[in-house]
Symmetry: C2
Subunit: 259 residues, 2 copies
């Protein structure tokens, strides 16, 4: 089983959209997929009809256990999604309280990674959607993953946020004893704006091979798909956005073994 | 002096863009404007060339004072912006440490409101840009303001975030002894997508007169303006986006006295 985390400390850059689109395309390839929602706002959970404000069980339960959870117990926390071979571990707003609970408690950063290992016999790939801020939940996502996907809007303000993200990775790399490859996915590219073209060039100059050689265009179908609660590749299989994510997935899978 | 806060717990919805555009249009009306950046990511500060990672003085200084700051001391913290009558109190990443510092200290939620009162002889309107999460900085913005502007993307997932924002307001209203009017500004409207049209209708049904009767369209010029570090109305005065914000400002100013 591989674990991919989708993260960026800046908000509204396409993390949830990237997580749900890649998960759908991986399920289409016949993989058994688990989506994990670690964002207290629970966009990914809302996408599939779960209400994070009234969610009793889910990702939060992992942090409430005194003893380690069994694989069966973990399985009872999962929800179905419109694709049979893809499950969701939903978020709840209670996740936001973990920040205060983490003060003084050791090992809180490794909870999700340990729990997901229990699923390795029934899941091929887990994809973690994370919140847009540096805290215990993002630390869990960065500690657990074999590969990190960073969606970055192709605009000037987003580049500053990316610098901050790479500082965080350097910090995290010291506490993980294995390297953390990261892949930057330029998204919401709009070839009509000068800023999009310039910031894409800046990304390639600064981060070289870590950047997906293509780019995800602005595509209105993603919003429609989220309203319909359907995977984007099912909702509009031939849209520009889906084509780009298919290319992106090929590149990610071809990048060689995850660390 | 009036204080307007621009806030929404969801990220990437156009808070910074709304703050900088309204500030520019108010300066155009001849008002003396102060922009306050309370977001540790400092998009508004980066917009005007200030680096939040290396910012010694600024909004963070307000929280470090033992005794109350004088008006002169506060004035030394301000930076210029491309418009003469508009100043910026910049953010620094150190603002993110306030959350931990606030535990156990009283009165931390009122720091910004108290400090801004010192500027009432030289500023007509202060506009606060806030971070996308509920914490001590957002509480300061909500406690200090006379009017609250909530940009909301016209898409399904954003409506859930708005529900959470109004819960926060009800919570805050108990600790403020005056009502807090809020104005919802639908933004990034894209008439080509079904989701935009449907969520706009949902907003008007649920929040009635609190919603700007117009809407801010998707307009690529905002990204170009932020790259150029220029106020949007100066960068492209006749764009659709600017027209809409001019109408929005008229509506906000006509909504009657702020509380
Ligand atoms: N390529 C794209 N083209 C157009 N719209 C997009 C694209 N990708 C994402 N979006 C839209 O942008 C908005 C923000 O995307 P999304 O929710 O995935 O971002 P996020 O980074 O997960 O946000 P948050 O920080 O709030 O979790 C959504 O309305 C989504 O539908
Ligand atoms: N009406 C619009 N049309 C097109 N793009 C827009 C519009 N408003 C804002 N944007 C763009 O959307 C992105 C997010 O906007 P902005 O940074 O203002 O959001 P924010 O809510 O302040 O984000 P954060 O939560 O990170 O502080 C920016 O690239 C901005 O240029
Ligand atoms: Mg998200
Ligand atoms: Mg902002």
């Amino acid at each position: 089983m591989e674990i991919w985390s989708v993260a960026n400390q800046k908000g509204g850059v396409g993390k949830t959209t990237t997580a749900v689109t890649l998960a759908g395309l991986l399920a289409e390839q016949g993989k058994r997929v688990l989506l994990v929602d670690l964002d207290p706002h629970g966009s990914l959970s809302s996408y599939f009809g779960q209400d994070p404000d009234h969610q009793a069980k889910g990702a939060y339960t992992l942090f409430q256990q005194k003893d380690e959870l069994s694989a069966d117990e973990l399985r009872t926390l999962l929800c179905n999604t419109p694709i049979e071979s893809a499950y969701l571990l939903p978020a709840s707003t209670a996740l936001a309280t973990l920040e205060r609970q983490a003060i003084g408690r050791d090992g809180m950063g490794l909870v999700v990674g340990k729990a997901l290992k229990l699923m390795s016999s029934i899941v091929d790939i887990a994809i973690i959607d994370s919140p847009p801020l540096l805290g215990i939940l993002l630390v869990n996502a960065l500690a657990a993953c074999d590969r990190l996907v960073i969606p970055v809007q192709t605009e000037f303000l987003a580049l500053k946020g990316l610098e901050r993200m790479t500082h965080t990775l350097t910090m995290m790399a010291r506490s993980r004893n294995r390297a953390l490859n990261f892949a930057i996915v330029p998204t919401m590219f709009d070839r009509r704006t000068q800023a999009s073209v310039a910031s894409l060039r800046h990304l390639r100059n600064h981060y070289g091979d870590n950047v997906f050689p293509g780019r995800i265009p602005v595509d209105t179908k993603f919003r429609d798909a989220s309203k319909a609660g359907q995977y984007p590749h099912v909702f509009s299989p031939d849209s520009h956005g889906i084509d780009a994510y298919r290319q992106c997935l090929k590149w990610l899978q071809g990048q060689g073994q995850a660390s």
